[in-house]
Every structure is written in structure tokens, then in C-alpha cells.
């Protein structure tokens, strides 16, 4: 009897709590077409991916972030926000303790159990995983909606779009340069599904591994040697600061056409991808960008 009463009391309490919030609830749709219930005004948010953190800051939601990952190092303000673990291993207890209105998630791994636990606590989970330039625009638009910053996000998209247009205009009629993107020295590169394949093309190049399946395949040394790129782009990090020795006699190395682009800028599908595009275009076609 006592147990029943206790349960009733507890469940009543929960309901009352929920009702209080839901007065101003609104519904938005995320990238997985899930309907996400949000309070009218989002005051606290957590981001579980560095590219989402950058998007959130770019649309003016950075001030609302109370938790980010250990990878989130841009903009500088993001480094001062509490860390909740990394993208693959977020600390659920820390997230719950922060009591955010919404958690932004990019990865689908362990999403189901994670979402279930988080949503049980009345915290919304918003999934957005941009994997193309268009996807970044859409993501920025949706994130803008979440924070009620539609004007900012529209401006961001317009700016990005016009910068992309500028680059495309300059590279449109140029010869496409055979480019190899080295993600890792052990010959991880970009394949069909990577957004960088499209980006290289916009920058006036052509990724020589564009037909290799998956997003970030590891290719064989034999293949790399046979491909003989005219330019190599290194996703620059401590352990990827020079081309694999297999490229020793490639046109790219012989003609000193090896370019380093900061790994964070190159690898994150976020607003700074336009910087990456401009840097690649300038590297491939320096004569057009003086």
C-alpha cells in the first residue's frame, strides 16, 4: 500500500515537473527526422562534437553552451567551457548534472541507449551530422532555429555561400589538378563518401581516390604509387607532416606541390570548411589567388 502511494506521489511529481516545462514546448525536426521537443527558449546546451560546437558559436549560440568535448578547441571561448568527455565516450553523469535543455549529437554510435538515458531525464537530444557543404548549411539553419537565432544563421549561410561562389568562379574553367589527400601517414585518405571529395573539386582539383568506397579508406601502397598525384594535401598534424615515402617519385613531390592544411579545419564539417576550401584552391591554383 505504502509502495503504491509512494509511486503515485513520485509519478505525480514528475508529471507536474513536465507540465511546467511543456507550457512553452515547441517541436523541431533533426537530421534523422526525429521530432525533438524543446522548451520555447533554450538556455543551456551541450555539444558532443567539435564541428557542432563551431556551428553553434557561428550562429550565436555559444553563450548557451555549458558542456563541450575535449576535442572542442575552436573558437577560443569553447576551450573555457566544461568538458564532458569526448565524442565517442561522453560522460552521461556529467551531462545530466549540467541539466541542459538540449544535447547536440553528431555520431550515430551508441545513440539509442544514450538517447534513451538522456531523454528519460527530460533532456532533448538533437542529432545533426552534416557530411557535405549543403549539409553544413542545413545544419546551421536548424541549429539557428534551436537557439532562436534565425537571422544569424541565415547570414552565416549567405556569407559561406558567397565565399564558396567566389572560389568556384575562379576555378571553374581551370584544369583539374590530380590531388591526393593524405589523412594519415599510413595511407588513410578520402573516398566516395567524404565531403572533402566534393570540396577538392570545387577548389579546382580532382581527388584521385574519389572512386574508392567508404568515406576514409586506407589504400594500398601499390595503388598510391600507381596513382601518381600532381598535388598532395596533408591533413596537418604531428604524425602526418610529410607524404608517405611511397610518393617519393610522384609528380607532386618532385614538383614540390605538397600542401599542409590544419587537420581541424580540414576534417570538421563546420563553418571553417570554407577556409579549407579557400586554402586548397589557393594551393592548387596560386596564380588565381594573388
Amino acid at each position: 500500500m505504502i509502495v503504491i502511494i509512494l509511486i503515485t506521489v513520485v509519478s505525480c511529481k514528475n508529471e507536474i515537473g513536465n507540465v511546467d516545462h511543456s507550457v512553452a514546448f515547441r517541436e523541431v525536426t533533426d537530421d534523422l527526422n526525429r521530432t525533438v521537443k524543446l522548451p520555447g527558449k533554450v538556455t543551456k546546451a551541450v555539444s558532443l562534437a567539435p564541428n557542432l560546437t563551431e556551428i553553434i558559436f557561428a550562429v550565436g549560440g555559444g553563450g548557451k553552451l555549458v558542456g563541450v568535448t575535449t576535442f572542442c578547441n575552436y573558437p577560443v571561448a569553447a576551450t573555457k567551457i566544461q568538458k564532458i568527455g569526448d565524442t565517442l565516450k561522453p560522460n552521461i553523469e556529467t551531462i545530466i548534472a549540467l541539466k541542459p535543455d538540449v544535447v547536440f549529437v553528431s555520431t550515430a554510435s551508441q545513440l539509442e541507449s544514450f538517447t534513451e538515458t538522456i531523454e528519460k531525464q527530460g533532456i532533448a537530444v538533437f542529432v545533426t551530422n552534416p557530411s557535405s557543404l549543403k549539409g553544413i548549411y542545413e545544419s546551421a539553419k536548424k541549429v539557428g532555429e534551436v537557439f532562436g537565432q534565425e537571422t544569424r544563421s541565415e547570414k552565416l549561410i549567405k556569407d559561406m555561400n558567397s565565399r564558396v561562389g567566389e572560389v568556384e568562379k575562379k576555378t571553374k574553367n581551370l584544369e583539374k589538378i590530380k590531388t591526393f589527400v593524405q589523412i594519415d601517414k599510413s595511407l588513410f585518405t578520402i573516398g566516395t563518401e567524404s565531403f572533402l571529395t566534393d570540396l577538392i573539386e570545387k577548389a579546382g582539383g580532382i581527388s584521385i581516390t574519389r572512386n574508392v568506397e567508404t568515406a576514409y579508406p586506407k589504400i594500398s601502397k601499390e595503388k598510391a604509387l600507381a596513382l601518381n598525384p600532381d598535388a598532395i594535401i596533408l591533413s596537418d598534424s604531428v604524425d602526418n607532416d610529410e607524404p608517405n615515402p611511397v610518393f617519393e617519385n610522384s609528380n607532386a613531390v618532385r614538383n614540390k606541390r605538397v600542401y599542409k592544411i590544419n587537420a581541424d579545419i580540414l576534417s570538421r564539417p563546420g563553418p571553417r570548411i570554407v577556409n579549407a576550401l579557400e586554402q586548397i584552391a589557393r594551393s592548387l591554383h596560386p596564380e588565381k589567388f594573388d
Binding site: 599510413s186 586506407k218 595503388k223 587537420a263
Partner: protein, 324 residues
């Protein structure tokens, strides 16, 4: 032990000849096939580079690694009188892997630090397992395997801890490498492995008679004048060296040291004067064939060769275990 009767001699000559032919065929097939199709008679400069700088060193390294691991497995099994004694299962491979990782993290610029620390790691793991397994009653076989499991688990957890501390892209190439991966083959690595397998093979062969006697029992071996302590020391050191150099070059390719000597004994009996050289030959063919699959199945992408050896080795081993 009358293993050298006429019938056995003919049989071992046949098996030996068969294994030499198998190795020749495996090497030819492996050099012929790859992710790139080569026109062997009129090669372009690039094709020549692919053949001589990439494919051949890798195939030959694979052969040396296979021979080394099979030799290490065969000699440990004879010494410890246990068919399950295998570098991978005893934690020796993991010791070498941890050594290689430490070298990678702390002495990245010195390439030779990897094989050196790998050998040190393999030797320490062997020593630890041996000390744990030793009891007053002598060398206990069950204790040995259990100690191997404990050391393997302990080293695995340190390896996992280290990969967690390394950043994401580094981690991916390491998971690949930990499974056994020949794609980083260099000519230098091949020469080192070749020297190791020749020197190690000769030293182990010199202990074949002693190992034969020890397989009957340490006591009997002692009565026949075998210096048990010395033989044990030699086998442990050489096996550690072979495993260390193999792991530093290609990660932990599992199951070779288990499955190869097992099949060799089925075909040619258990005289170590046959088992050791035959295991080396067959181990070389086994890894070369497995790596040919790893290189070509999803070309231009690649699989780690260790995944293939485990895929072939595991079911075969279960079958043998059930059959006997």
C-alpha cells in the same frame, strides 16, 4: 625413439620437397597478384617501382614473419611439452606489441628502437610467464597456460589504455597494426627479419635433438646428458627475438605459431629435426598466401593479414582439437 627408420626418412623427404614447392608457388602467386595489375614483360617505371619497392619487399617480409612465428611456436611447444604453447597465447606477442608501441610513442625518430623494445617486451613477457608457471614441483603445464592468459590479459589492458590516450587517427592505424598488418613493410624490415629467421633457425635446429629428448621428459633428457637449463634459456631467448622482430615489423599475426607446427606434425611426425625446418617453410607459405588475400580481396583497400590468419586458423584449430 626410432624416428629415423627408412619409411620415415622417405616420408620426411617427400613432405620437405612438397613444402619447398608450396613456398615457391606461394611466392610466385603473391608476386603476380596485387591491387595493381602489372604487365610483367613491358613494365613502366611506376610498375617497376610497385613491383620492386612495394610488392616484393612485402611478400618476402611476410614469408620471414611466417617462418619466425612458426619456428617460435614449434620450439616453445617442444620445450614446454604443450601443443597450445604459442607466442600469441603465452603473451609473448603482446609483450612485443607493447614494446613497439612504447618505442613509437617515446622514440619515434629512432626506427631501430622498435625491434629492440619489441624484443625486450617479448623477453620480459616470456620471463614473467615462466616465473609465474614455475613451482616447486617443476614446470607445470596447466600453470604455464594460465600464466600466459594472465600476462596476455594484463598486457592487453595496458595496450588498450595506451591506444585510448593516443589521438583518433593514430588509434585507427594502431588497431590495424595490432591485428597484424604487413602494409608498412620496408626493405630494412625485411633484411632484419631475414637475418633473424636464418640465425634463429640455425640456433633452434642445433637444439632439435635436445628438444626431442625433453619431449619425452625432462628427467630422461637429463639422463641423456641434455643441459636442460641451457636449452630452455636458448629456446626462450631465440623465440623472444623472433617474435619481437616479427611484431615490430608487422604487428601480432596470430595463430601461425599454433596451426603451422600442428599440421606439420600431422604430416611428418614429431621429430623436431623435421618439425622445425618444415614449420619455417610452411609458416612462410601460410602468411604469404594469407597476405595475398588481404591485399587483393577488397583492393584498392586492404585487410589486416592477422584477421585472415585468424579466420583460417581458428576453425582449423577447433577441428583439429575435436578430431584428436
Amino acid at each position: 625413439m626410432k624416428v629415423n627408420g627408412g619409411k620415415f626418412k622417405v616420408r620426411s623427404i617427400c613432405v620437405g620437397a612438397g613444402l619447398i614447392s608450396l613456398l615457391a608457388v606461394s611466392l610466385s602467386v603473391a608476386i603476380f597478384f596485387g591491387s595493381e595489375n602489372l604487365t610483367f614483360f613491358e613494365m613502366t617505371e611506376t610498375q617497376r617501382a610497385i613491383l620492386y619497392d612495394v610488392r616484393i619487399p612485402r611478400v618476402l617480409l611476410g614469408a620471414c614473419v611466417g617462418a619466425s612465428l612458426a619456428l617460435a611456436g614449434a620450439s616453445l611447444q617442444a620445450l614446454l611439452r604443450n601443443p597450445l604453447a604459442e607466442p600469441y597465447l603465452l603473451g609473448v606477442s603482446n609483450g612485443a606489441a607493447l614494446g613497439t608501441m612504447l618505442a613509437f610513442v617515446f622514440f619515434e625518430s629512432f626506427e631501430f628502437s622498435r625491434p629492440v623494445l619489441a624484443i625486450v617486451g617479448a623477453a620480459l613477457a616470456t620471463f614473467a610467464v615462466y616465473q609465474m608457471a614455475r613451482s616447486r614441483a617443476g614446470m607445470n603445464v596447466e600453470r604455464l597456460i594460465l600464466s600466459g592468459v594472465i600476462v596476455t590479459t594484463f598486457l592487453s589492458s595496458i595496450i588498450i589504455l595506451m591506444t585510448s590516450l593516443l589521438d583518433a587517427t593514430k588509434l585507427r592505424s594502431f588497431t590495424f597494426w595490432l591485428l597484424g598488418d604487413l602494409s608498412q613493410a620496408t626493405k630494412g624490415g625485411f633484411y632484419l627479419s631475414l637475418i633473424a629467421v636464418v640465425v634463429g633457425g640455425v640456433i633452434l635446429a642445433s637444439q632439435a635433438r635436445a628438444l626431442n629428448l625433453m619431449m619425452i621428459g625432462e628427467r630422461d633428457a637429463f639422463d641423456f646428458g641434455v643441459e636442460i637449463g641451457k636449452t630452455r634459456m636458448i629456446v626462450f631467448s631465440v623465440a623472444s627475438g623472433l617474435v619481437g622482430i616479427s611484431v615490430a615489423a608487422s604487428g601480432s599475426v596470430g595463430f601461425v605459431g599454433l596451426i603451422v607446427p600442428h599440421l606439420v606434425r600431422l604430416a611428418a611426425g614429431s621429430d623436431n629435426r623435421n618439425v622445425l625446418p618444415f614449420s619455417a617453410l610452411f609458416g612462410a607459405s601460410f602468411v604469404v598466401i594469407a597476405d595475398t588475400f588481404a591485399r587483393t580481396v577488397i583492393a584498392p583497400r586492404e585487410l589486416p593479414v592477422g584477421a585472415i590468419t585468424a579466420l583460417i586458423g581458428c576453425p582449423l584449430f577447433i577441428y583439429l582439437l575435436k578430431k584428436n
